[in-house]
């Protein structure tokens, strides 16, 4: 490891979900805040163990849906107001409103879906082509049969040596310091 490289975090490997769940809980109890877990499948209870906060994503979806609803309604109002649909016994401008609801409904869903997907991408830093974790040998097994606990260097309590020792002590294997 070259001394000019910035330390990014410490990674340790576990070989089953029960151990990593217990380890994550211990790390939280120790006071670590910026920890993350890489696992091939969702582990029930892990979001509590590593202290994942409630996501603001529903609010982003609601915002997208509301904008879609209003824009679709206004667009139809705007295009109709000078050219009213004076057919099928609906002479008035607002008499046509029921017909607009189909578009309003679809556009609400469309913008809500876009907002949800976009919000999800932004909140998760997607698309992400590089992570310092890729440098670790064997990390690809996080998509197969191994579980990785990461303590970020951004954690206020992070100390390269102490954190490394702590992870080894709570049962982590191949404890590695990762540089960016």
């Amino acid at each position: 490891m070259s001394t000019t490289e910035k330390v990014w975090g410490v990674v340790s490997r576990f070989d089953n979900p029960t151990d990593i769940l217990a380890a994550a809980e211990k790390a939280r109890a120790q006071g670590y805040k910026k920890i993350d877990v890489h696992s091939p499948f969702p582990i029930h209870g892990i979001e509590k163990a590593i202290g994942v906060k409630a996501t603001p994503l529903p609010w982003i979806s609601l915002l997208g849906g509301t904008i879609g609803c209003l824009v679709a309604w206004y667009f139809q109002y705007w295009t109709t107001k000078d050219y009213p649909m004076i057919i099928s016994g609906k002479p008035g401008l607002l008499d046509s409103t029921p017909a607009w609801f189909v578009i309003v409904f679809c556009f609400t869903i469309l913008l809500c879906a876009f907002a949800t997907l976009g919000g999800f991408m932004v909140l998760n830093d997607f698309p992400k082509f590089y992570s310092p974790l890729h440098k670790i040998k064997g990390f690809e097994r996080a998509t197969d049969d191994q579980f990785f606990l990461v303590v970020s260097a951004a954690d206020p309590q992070f100390d390269q040596r102490k954190t490394r020792d702590f992870l080894a002590q709570i049962g982590g294997q191949d404890v590695t310091v990762v540089t960016d």
Binding site: H44, E47, S88, G89, K90, P98, A99, F101
Partner: protein, 427 residues
């Protein structure tokens, strides 16, 4: 406020046998209310229509419960096991429905309900006098009687109604029997009984779907015999799902308030019941609007006749309440996860949803009084007798619920998926 999670205490699973006495008392009260309505209501046609509102309410509670139970059993759901017995209790409304069908037939045979049962309202049109286009209306009625009498006649209506009722009663009785059997059976026996209900549900669901659709056609849509809408039964199905979700939320809250079913239904299960209510309430709005917009867009007289009738003389108010109260209020109140997990909010919304389902049925049925004579229903108004008979039939439904579950386990303790269901969590 989220209610805290406590472990399930099987000692609190059994309902007291005193429920039986209570149910008899409530049955007397319910019958008394309905009978009182009959005595204070001078207009027998109005009574018959209000009775039909109550009858449909009981029918939708029963079929909603039956559909809920069959869906859960067929999909082998875990989350609903601990509250499913309560739905099975509400299924007993279907047995009650057979009894309630007798007064309906008597009222109908006296000519208070369905114009097609006699002469398609030809005499009423003639006697009404002073109606615009009376000749054209009379010709229309005559045309309808020639075209529709093969389906809308007394004997075939009775035969079809009997078929629906018998099908529902058989399904409900088989499921109830097998479900109660799991409480006392050993592990293999309980598994076999549960599998049986699942297998019965596979043909049961389409059977119930079709019979509920046709029952809606025969019992409600035929009030306005010259109008038709294929989605009409689906609207009732959506309301039946709203009703059963609401009833489950309220029943569980009341029963747990009495110290029973401790820990069996926790915030996760209530969250899912609220999701169910939210989903089917939205579905209700979707299919109701679909029916409306197709008719509104085309604007063909033979189709718009229903909305004209139900908007005339101030009755449109109930339609607006259905749109805003039934859909928007519940939609916005239950949209957030925090609201769906809030005990008080879900119970209040459930009470509101039941009220809205009644308002919707009232709107569908009451304005057809005196059909096909225009404006025969009179201006919009709710009379005490209408409320009494609907409340009476709802009380009878509650009595049937208490009677069925009295002294029984309120949680299907023998169900093989109970442990899975208790552990369930919304991640």
């Amino acid at each position: 406020m989220e209610s805290p999670k406590i472990p399930f205490d099987p000692a609190t699973a059994k309902a007291p046998t005193s429920w039986k006495g209570l149910s008899v008392l409530l049955a007397l009260v319910g019958a008394g209310l309905a009978a009182g309505a009959w005595f204070i209501q001078k207009d027998h046609s109005r009574f018959a229509h209000a009775y039909l509102v109550g009858f449909m309410l009981v029918a939708l509670i029963g079929t909603g419960a039956l559909m809920f139970v069959m869906l859960q059993q067929l999909s082998r759901a875990g989350w609903s096991v601990s509250s499913r017995r309560i739905a099975e209790g509400w299924m007993s409304s279907l047995f009650l429905l057979v009894l309630l069908f007798i007064p309906l037939v008597l009222l109908a045979k006296q000519g208070h309900l369905y114009a097609w049962l006699t002469d398609f309202g030809a005499a009423a049109v003639k006697n009404a006098g002073n109606i615009p286009d009376a000749d054209r209306l009379a010709a229309h009625v005559h045309h309808m009687s020639e075209k529709k009498a093969f389906w809308l006649n007394e004997s075939s209506w009775l035969a079809r109604s009997a078929f629906y009722l018998v099908a529902w009663v058989i399904l409900a009785a088989l499921i109830l029997r097998r479900s109660f059997a799991t409480d006392v059976a050993d592990k293999e026996g309980a598994a076999a009984n549960t599998t049986f209900i699942g297998k019965l549900s596979a043909p049961g669901i389409p059977l119930l779907g079709l019979t509920l659709t046709f029952a809606s056609f025969d019992w409600v849509m035929s009030l306005q015999f010259d109008w038709y809408s294929t989605i009409f039964g689906v609207i009732h199905f959506a309301d039946s799902m709203v009703l059963i979700a609401s009833l489950l939320i309220i029943s569980v809250a009341c029963i747990q308030g009495k110290g029973l079913m401790k820990g069996a239904v926790n915030v996760e299960h209530k969250h899912d019941l609220a999701k169910w209510l939210f989903a089917f309430n939205t579905f209700f709005a979707f299919v109701s609007y679909a029916q409306f917009i197709i008719i509104w867009f085309a604007d063909i007289p033979e189709e718009t006749v229903w909305y004209h009738r139900h908007a005339a003389d101030g009755w449109s108010l109930l339609g607006w309440i259905s749109l805003f109260g039934h859909f928007f209020v519940i939609f916005f109140l239950l949209m957030s996860r925090h609201m769906k997990r809030n005990h008080f909010v879900t119970v209040l919304v459930s009470i509101w949803a039941i009220l809205m389902a009644i308002v919707h049925l009232y709107w569908e049925i009451m304005p057809t009084m005196g059909y096909p004579v225009p404006h025969a229903a009179g201006p919009f108004g709710v009379q005490l007798a209408d409320i009494l008979v609907i409340a009476g039939l709802l009380t009878l439904s509650f009595a049937a619920f208490l009677f069925t579950l009295s002294g029984r386990n309120l949680v299907a303790v023998g169900d093989p998926r109970l442990q899975e269901g208790l552990k369930f969590e919304n991640y």
